[in-house]
């Protein structure tokens, strides 16, 4: 007597995972792919878009610009990130916890706030630039590649810091001691032992920076001036092509995706190539710096973090300045906030509601799929796993174009709804949620679930009563991170919004374009506070609940 049902809960989850990916990822991306091969004038299948891209300097330049920005940002991020990581992990730096928090806050802040803040400081009428010119130091306006690199670097360098610091904290002290014992002086030990050991993590962080910078849309849009990069080019092409088929925009999107997947492939390769699993018998200790070096080390650390915090502080400051339309007046007040809540309250609620709905979807679907991937390595799951990682390498602009093309016709009309924005949040964040759920599960002994099953609890109940409670802390902190990134999403939603579905990042972007810095600052400040609060909550959650998982 067979009482085994052929379709258990987890097969259904796998099936649903496939449905999600096919519907909201493959289907729209295939449209982008297809349109990139359709000649705009004849409507026939052709390579004309590609030949046009590589034949015109205007397009080629955007490609070169993108690469230049990404390479430069990565290089500068390493330059800032590695010393900060090394100093704060190996030496006692006062207030290093605060430095860390501020760096992460800059990292998580909406990508365009930094750009916009640098414009207010060093733009055409930037206060810093004017102040400097009054003492005779005349700087060119910040618009263009320098501005993009400045804003990108100061936002993304913490990726390098975090990854490198993580590795530095888990290298066994004895390795460096062995090197010194064998006669290598400090700098030689660093170059021949420490650096090679953390290099895989450092490379990993650097590639994330490269990827983020390559697909960033907000920063080049606000501070780039006429300097077009691939995402802004795709956006411009799309918005001007809108009536017809998005041929050229699709081609640019595909090329952008090819670059992005190249970077991801490189990152995967780098992360698997050389991993130095360490027994970590002797944790590294933080040394006290001598009187000569303590000063410069502190100055360097504080300078780096101050530079990346400065744009955020400026935004907060400006949000309390009185304004009259686009003009700042003397005096301080809450006028900018008042105007938000009276004029565009819908924008604020939209952001919160969309992000909240998206997060519920992301956390629940991500957790279930993460479970399937960690615990059910069937053939179907092994196919699904890499598919779920595709959103990693799809820049927001590309996904936005895909969505608007695919869901603006039969059988699914979603254009102009909040649903389409929620879905972009969902699909963009899903891989992170799946990955994090799967990695939490990898730290939970499968024997615990087997013990539940063995005691007579069916698979569904076992998941609910054993796996889920153990994953809770991780799921919640992951959900909070997803919520923050969704709240700050711009590059896809800017293509998909209509008046009634506008969100805060979009409103900030539009306000900046119109010169309403007061409104933009106030809204940015709200996002920053929300981001900071979320960060605090995650710290508390993982700090408290992390012990239950580690203490297994």
């Amino acid at each position: 007597m067979s009482r085994r049902s052929p379709l258990d809960v987890w097969s259904a989850v796998t099936l649903a995972g496939f449905a999600c990916v096919l519907m909201f990822l493959i289907y729209p991306l295939f449209d982008v792919f297809r349109y990139s091969f359709i000649d705009k004038t004849t409507g026939a299948l052709s390579l004309s878009n590609y030949t046009q891209f590589f034949g015109r300097k205007y397009y080629i330049n955007a490609f070169i610009h993108s690469m230049f920005i990404a390479v430069a940002t990565t290089a500068f991020s390493i330059l800032l990130g590695v010393p900060l990581a090394f100093l704060t992990t190996r030496y006692r730096i006062r207030g290093s916890a605060m430095l860390n928090t501020l760096a992460v806050l800059a990292l998580l802040s909406p990508p365009f706030i930094g750009a916009y803040s640098w414009v207010t400081m060093l733009g055409r009428s930037g206060f810093l630039r004017q102040a400097l010119s009054s003492i005779g130091l005349i700087l060119p306006p910040i618009y263009g590649p320098l501005g993009i690199i400045l804003a990108d670097t100061l936002q993304y360098y913490p990726f390098v810091t975090l990854m490198t610091a993580g590795a530095l904290m888990t290298t066994d002290r004895s390795l460096e001691e062995a090197s010194q014992n064998l006669g290598a002086r400090g700098i030689r030990t660093f170059l021949t032992v420490t650096l090679p050991l953390v290099l895989p993590s450092l490379t990993g962080g650097a590639l994330i920076v490269f990827m983020m910078s390559l697909s960033n849309f907000g920063t080049p849009m606000i501070i780039g001036g006429n300097y077009l990069v691939l995402p802004t080019l795709a956006y411009n092409l799309y918005t001007s092509e809108v009536a017809e088929s998005p041929g050229m925009a699709s081609t640019v999107s595909i090329l952008l995706m090819v670059c992005a997947s190249g970077v991801i492939a490189l990152q995967q390769w780098a992360s698997t190539r050389r991993k130095y699993a360490s027994m970590l018998v002797n944790r590294p200790v933080q040394k006290r710096l001598g009187p000569v070096w303590a000063g410069p080390a502190h100055v360097l650390c504080y300078l780096i973090v101050a530079l990346s915090t400065l744009p955020l502080a400026v935004v907060v400051y400006y949000s309390f300045r009185n304004t009259s339309g686009p003009v700042f007046k003397t005096g301080y007040g809450l006028a900018s906030y008042r105007s938000i809540f009276f004029e565009v309250p819908k924008t604020v609620t939209n952001s919160f509601v969309y992000a909240l709905v998206a997060v519920v979807l992301i956390a629940s679907v991500g957790t279930l799929l993460g479970f399937v991937i960690a615990r059910r390595r069937r053939l179907s799951v092994r196919v699904l796993d890499p598919l779920l990682m595709v959103p990693y390498m799809v820049p927001g602009t590309v996904l936005g174009i895909g969505f608007i093309v695919a869901f603006n016709r039969k059988p699914i009309y979603l254009a102009g709804t909040g649903v389409i924005i929620i879905l972009t949040y969902f699909i963009r964040r899903l891989p992170y949620s799946v990955r994090s759920a799967a990695s939490i599960l990898k730290q939970i002994d499968p024997a615990l679930e087997e013990a539940g099953i063995n005691l007579g609890s069916p698979p569904g109940r076992t998941f609910r009563t054993i796996a889920l409670p153990l994953m809770k802390a991780g799921i919640i902190s992951g959900a909070i991170m997803s919520w923050v990134t969704s709240m700050n999403e711009l590059s896809a939603s800017i293509l998909l919004y209509v008046g009634k579905t506008m969100t805060m990042p979009i409103k900030i972007y539009l306000s900046v374009l119109d010169g309403y810095f007061g409104t933009a600052s106030a809204m940015s400040t709200i996002l920053l506070v929300v981001t900071g609060l979320a960060l605090y909550l995650v710290n508390r959650w993982t700090g408290k609940a992390g012990a239950t998982i580690v203490g297994l």
């Binding site: 009482r3 002994d445 024997a447 013990a451 005691l455 007579g456 069916p458 076992t462």
Partner: protein
């Protein structure tokens, strides 16, 4: 009390045949041990009985019931895990109550049964503790109590003591046997520790390469190994290749073992090979020392002499093979210098014979029974 019958069970993982047609009949109330090195298939077999693996072919019966198609959560087997698998987010009480709650027992019943189970493993009063406040041994007791609380048909123990320290292991193995006997529950016990297996089991199945090598009570497994694998895996066994020279006294043959002439038992029945592999246990060597002149004597070069307190263990070299002999209650003169020659005698009756190629036991005259 439930018997367990395993019939021709095959299990493949990819191209690896983890179980090659395993058959076993385990008696009701028996403590039955699966013993073998890692990768021998013992854990796979246990997990197949528990229902975590589905065998590719063959049958598993619990009592008279064929359970092939029963999912793991309906098999009513109580499993104790190697790494305890105590739920870290539940108190000790909740851990033990888990299976009872799944069975929708009343609150009173649950409290009673949990308390009884905790008493049995000597953890009364620990109900409200969380697992992170317990030692490894206590956690494993919780695991045991939890498995017993559901009053399973059979108890399955997967290397339950291997994560504990040596002293606790010795303590708990008698405790587990006592509890199992009190409950009269049929149990399968998986271990790679041969001493543990000898102490705890009613019967042992020695496994290697997905095949059962021998089934028998501990005494028979140790004294009467069916092949070279069992002989060498359970305890230590010295092996010497010997050439048969001719007839000896009744029931014995004269053989040349690495240059020494020895009397060895004569194989029963027809044995037409000139060569044979002889084996004896270290503790069966007698008269170990520097002075020659013993009957059935072997002489070998000392590699190392290890003083173990209650005994001296001599690692010797004989015809290119390593030989281990032991001398209990040693005197100062028994700790021989490396490079010196040691003599020892092996009583012909404690020599076992094995086929030089197949490694199968060659029965000697007088062993047929």
């Amino acid at each position: 009390m439930t018997s367990i019958r395993i019939a021709e069970v095959e299990k493949r993982f990819g191209t690896v045949r983890a179980l090659k047609g395993v058959s076993l009949a385990i008696e009701p109330g028996e403590l039955f041990t699966l013993l073998g090195p890692s990768g021998c298939g013992k854990t796979t077999l246990l997990r197949t009985v528990a229902g975590f693996n589905r065998q590719d072919s063959g049958d598993i019966f619990l009592g008279d019931e064929l359970v092939n198609d029963e999912p793991a959560y309906r098999r009513e087997t109580g499993m104790v895990f190697q790494n305890y698998a105590v739920f870290p987010h539940m108190s000790v009480f909740e851990n033990v109550a888990y299976g009872l709650r799944v069975r929708r027992l009343g609150r009173k019943d649950i409290t009673q049964r949990v308390e009884a189970a905790l008493r049995r493993v000597r953890l009364e009063g620990y109900g409200e503790r969380t697992p992170d406040k317990l030692s490894g041994g206590q956690q494993q007791r919780v695991g045991l109590a939890r498995a017993m609380a559901i009053e399973p048909r059979v108890l399955l123990l997967d290397e339950p003591l291997s994560n504990l320290d040596a002293k606790l292991r010795v303590e708990m193995r008698t405790e587990i046997r006592d509890i199992q006997k009190q409950l009269g529950i049929t149990a399968i016990y998986v271990t790679h520790d041969q001493e543990e297996a000898l102490v705890i089991s009613d019967r042992i199945a020695v496994m290697d390469g997905g095949v059962i090598q021998q089934v028998g009570p501990p005494w028979a497994i140790y004294k009467d190994p069916a092949n070279l694998f069992v002989a060498a895996f359970v305890g230590s066994m010295n092996l010497i290749d010997a050439e048969i020279l001719g007839e000896g006294p009744s029931g014995f043959l004269r053989a040349n073992a690495a240059g020494c002439e020895l009397l060895v038992p004569a194989p029963a029945g027809h044995y037409d090979l000139r060569r044979i592999r002889i084996a004896f246990r270290p503790e069966d060597a007698t008269g170990t020392g520097a002075a020659p002149g013993l009957a059935n004597e072997l002489r070998a070069t000392v590699k190392t002499a290890s003083f173990l307190g209650s005994a001296v263990s001599l690692d010797l070299e004989l015809g290119g093979r390593s030989i281990l002999v032991e001398r209990a209650r040693p005197g100062a003169g028994d700790i021989l210098e490396p490079g010196s020659t040691a003599s020892f005698a092996v009583p012909p009756t404690s020599i076992l014979l094995f086929h030089p190629e197949t490694g199968e036991r060659v029965t000697a005259v007088g062993e047929e029974a």
